[in-house]
Amino acid sequence: MVDRIILRVTRYRPESDTEPMTQEHEIPLRKDWSVLDGLNHIKDHLDGTLSYRWSCRMGVCGSCGMTVNGEPKLTCATFLGDYAPGPVRVEPLSNFPVVRDLVVDIGDFMRKLPRVKPWLIRSEQEPPAVGEYPQLPAEREEYEQFSMCINCMLCYAACPVYALDQEFLGPAAIALAQRYNLDSRDQGASERMDVLSEADGIWACTFVGECSAVCPKDVDPAGAIQRYKFTAAMDSLKALLLPRGAR
């Protein structure tokens, strides 16, 4: 006999439903099945109308974030066995408008991304023929952690500040800015500072740390924000205390 587990999945079709409801399915419980495998089983065999996003099923494309038993998770890297005997509740990510079923609208983040200038800024762009910009392994390590973000949006779903103020740039965008700021090849930190020190930038963060707790890639956005605040504070302190030439 195959073990079974119940999945309680949020359904919402904007054309016909006034509010979301919950649908229950009993599915096989296999030890190597992720929550995503469970959803795929529903879609393929029980109800083809369920909508959700996924692609790589290996925790790197960032598509499959949902709320599993109340916590933001990558469903392809979260396993049903860990929730046995169940039931398991699968809901769309919090803090985003729900488009349908388990699909949320992340347009807001996509519009914020370019604002932090997440690209390498050089005073002069040299042609490839000059060869690589040297970078020591230790210099690479400086920003490596912040370069691992897969834009899965779990941190936005967990962030209490973003929940109240959708203007807040948010953890992943700030971590990404920091990724470039800390890159020894980059010369654009001051350009990014303008955006980050606006009201909706780093100062909005109250350092709850939820973002780092839920991040599946150990990016530590909270750490990035902390560090950034420190740099910004030092800069303004210097601006106050030191004569112009010494800054």
Binding site: E15, S16, D32, G48, D101, M110, P137, S147
Partner: protein
């Protein structure tokens, strides 16, 4: 409303993003847009692990990279294309470095390189074992600085519009709203990636459903060398998740159930404790996957619920090397197999990984259909011939993505404005009707999508797998014909316009069925064994009949026609493929 751009790129993976940047940098007057069924940074390029090959060291040469590539491809590569490729690859990887790609470094700050399968020198650049992830995010983030690159994120292209022998744009569905629109363009570049989802066990993401191959084929452009399907020797058994070749490049061993490094029995060299280039575990993928099948036949593999497996042994590399060079491999093994490669053996089996074949293009990315270009895995230039070498695909995306961008830009700037003529308008209306009436409002379909899909996958694995025969292929062709018939009464229950992923699954399945038929058809006609195409009934390479690419066309009545233009040979006449000796 008409949506219109000078150049329209279908696909926001590595190839599509590189092409878009090439267009804007090439001609500031042109308008350009990317349509992608997923947000660009979710594209499958994100999963690439091992690295990207380009000559950078003084002890290496372009000719050696070319020779490795051509012999690896069993002499089916277009040698003019390979020469362009090896020459431009270093510049492209350096450009990416200048755009911020976090390549792993040597202690002195230079870019580091690692060995890779089938390569005689160390020339594979890498960013730990998340090369594709970093490459894609670097390209995507760099593309954001160009406001002129417009994007249609989460739009699904269903059809190419063709006006009097020339491409005029596409029809696409916006997933969020369900609206169906024509997007017209003077030039269209297909960058839609591969089609591993046609097979049951694959490293490929769910989105790799061969849409672009299907789009081009239906529009009359030929597909090239479709019979060449690459099996990667080391995928995880249930999920198909890839364990990168870098694991072997760093020194991993493949062992059978007796703990024996079995590759020594297959003319791939003799075992040595540290990796030797072009030998044993660093042989080419086709030969390694074939050796696995022979081990199964000899009863020397391990049986599991997911079929036979062998083991990849990394234990002797120790934790420090694994964590520094292969952290993602460790992460994947822990999550998906519940094992730690520092202490345990990794179960692996060959899984479908890459399509050597694709939309036929010249070295500028142009297809025979005027105004249509293609680059990346969807295209076949061909630098990969009968078997791609690991780490040649990522530089291929960049080199030929950029070339296609430049060629499309110059085509578009010389082209007249296309007024939308009645013929095109009629195509748009037909397509709208097909999507709305025939699919979205269909009643009474009885064939579940998943049933047809599973049957197609089993058919391909059984009939057109690592080893094929005339009879296995003929049977597969029959089964696919039946599946096409069954697809006509596919069941669709989702009537919603909003993010209708069932409709998407049906459209993808339909593309996959068409592409699967071309694979089986071309495999049946190629009566020889070369690279990844192994016919048990024709075990030898036959240069006399088949030193030729296969070009399959879909004629107006839906029938297939195959032509065999000779392979372009510049400097490397066909020879024996020698590994490990």
């Amino acid at each position: 409303m008409t949506l219109s751009h000078d150049v329209l790129i279908v696909g926001g993976g590595g190839a599509g993003l590189r092409a878009a940047i090439a267009v804007v940098e090439d001609d500031p007057r042109l308008t350009v847009a990317i349509v992608s069924k997923v947000y660009p940074m979710r594209s499958h390029t994100v999963s690439a692990e091992g690295g990207a090959a380009a000559v950078i060291r003084p002890d290496d040469s372009l000719d050696e990279h070319a020779y490795d590539t051509i012999s690896g491809g069993d002499w089916l590569c277009a040698q003019d294309a390979v020469e362009v490729f090896v020459k431009e690859a270093p510049e492209e990887l350096l450009r990416l470095e200048h755009w911020g790609c976090p390549w792993s470094r040597e202690p002195d700050g230079r870019v580091a390189v690692r060995p890779f399968g089938g390569m005689k020198r160390m020339r594979t650049w890498f960013a730990a074992d998340k090369t594709g992830f970093h490459l894609l995010h670097t390209l995507f983030q760099t593309s954001l600085r160009y406001e002129r690159i417009a994007r249609y994120d989460e739009w699904y292209v269903t059809k190419l519009l063709v006006d009097d022998g020339r491409v005029a744009g596409v029809v696409a569905v916006e997933l969020m709203s369900g609206r169906i629109e024509a997007i017209t363009a003077k030039a269209v570049i297909l960058c839609t990636g591969g089609c591993g989802q046609i097979y049951p066990f694959t490293t490929n993401a769910a989105i790799k459903t061969g849409d672009g191959m299907g789009l081009a084929y239906r529009a009359g452009a030929p597909l090239k060398d479709m019979e060449f399907v690459q099996y990667h020797p080391t995928g995880l058994p249930f999920t198909g998740i890839l364990i990168t070749e870098a694991a072997r490049a760093e020194g991993g061993w493949l062992i059978n159930k007796d703990g024996y490094r079995y590759l020594q029995d297959y003319d791939l060299g003799t075992p040595s404790p540290t990796p030797v280039l072009r030998s044993m575990e660093l042989g080419p993928r086709d030969r390694l996957s074939q050796a696995f099948v022979k081990e199964v036949e000899k009863g020397r593999t391990v049986d599991t619920p997911y079929g036979p497996i062998v083991h990849l042994d990394l234990r002797h590399l120790r934790e420090t090397v694994i964590d520094a060079r292969l952290p993602f491999v460790r992460e994947l093994c822990r999550s998906y197999e519940n094992i730690d490669p520092v202490r345990e053996l990794i179960p692996v089996r060959p899984v479908v990984h890459y399509m050597m074949g694709g939309v036929h293009t010249d070295i500028y990315g142009a297809t025979p259909l005027e105004g249509l270009f293609a680059a990346g895995e969807v295209a076949c230039v061909s630098i990969n011939g009968a078997n791609r070498l690991g780490s040649n695909s990522l530089p291929e995306l960049l080199v030929f993505g950029a070339r296609a961008g430049v060629a499309a830009a110059s085509f578009a700037s010389g082209a007249q404005d296309l007024a939308i003529r009645p013929a095109v308008r009629a195509q748009v209306e037909d397509e709208r009707r097909r999507l709305e009436r025939d699919l979205l409002q269909r009643d009474g379909g009885k064939e579940p999508i998943s049933a047809i899909r599973e049957e197609m996958r089993a058919t391909m694995e059984e009939g057109a797998g690592i080893y094929r025969s005339g009879s296995s292929l003929a049977k597969a062709a029959d089964r696919l014909r039946v599946l096409q018939e069954r697809f006509r009464s596919v069941r669709l229950e989702d009537r919603s316009r909003t993010f209708n992923t069932e409709l998407l699954a049906a459209l993808e399945l339909s593309f996959m069925l068409d592409v699967a038929e071309t694979i089986v058809h071309c495999a049946l006609l190629r009566e020889e064994s070369r690279g990844a195409h192994q016919r048990v009934d024709f075990p030898a390479r036959d240069d006399h009949r088949f030193l030729a690419n296969s070009l399959v066309y879909r004629d107006a009545d839906g029938s297939r026609r195959v032509e065999y233009p000779p392979v372009t040979i510049t400097r490397w006449p066909p020879g024996e493929r020698v590994y490990g000796r």
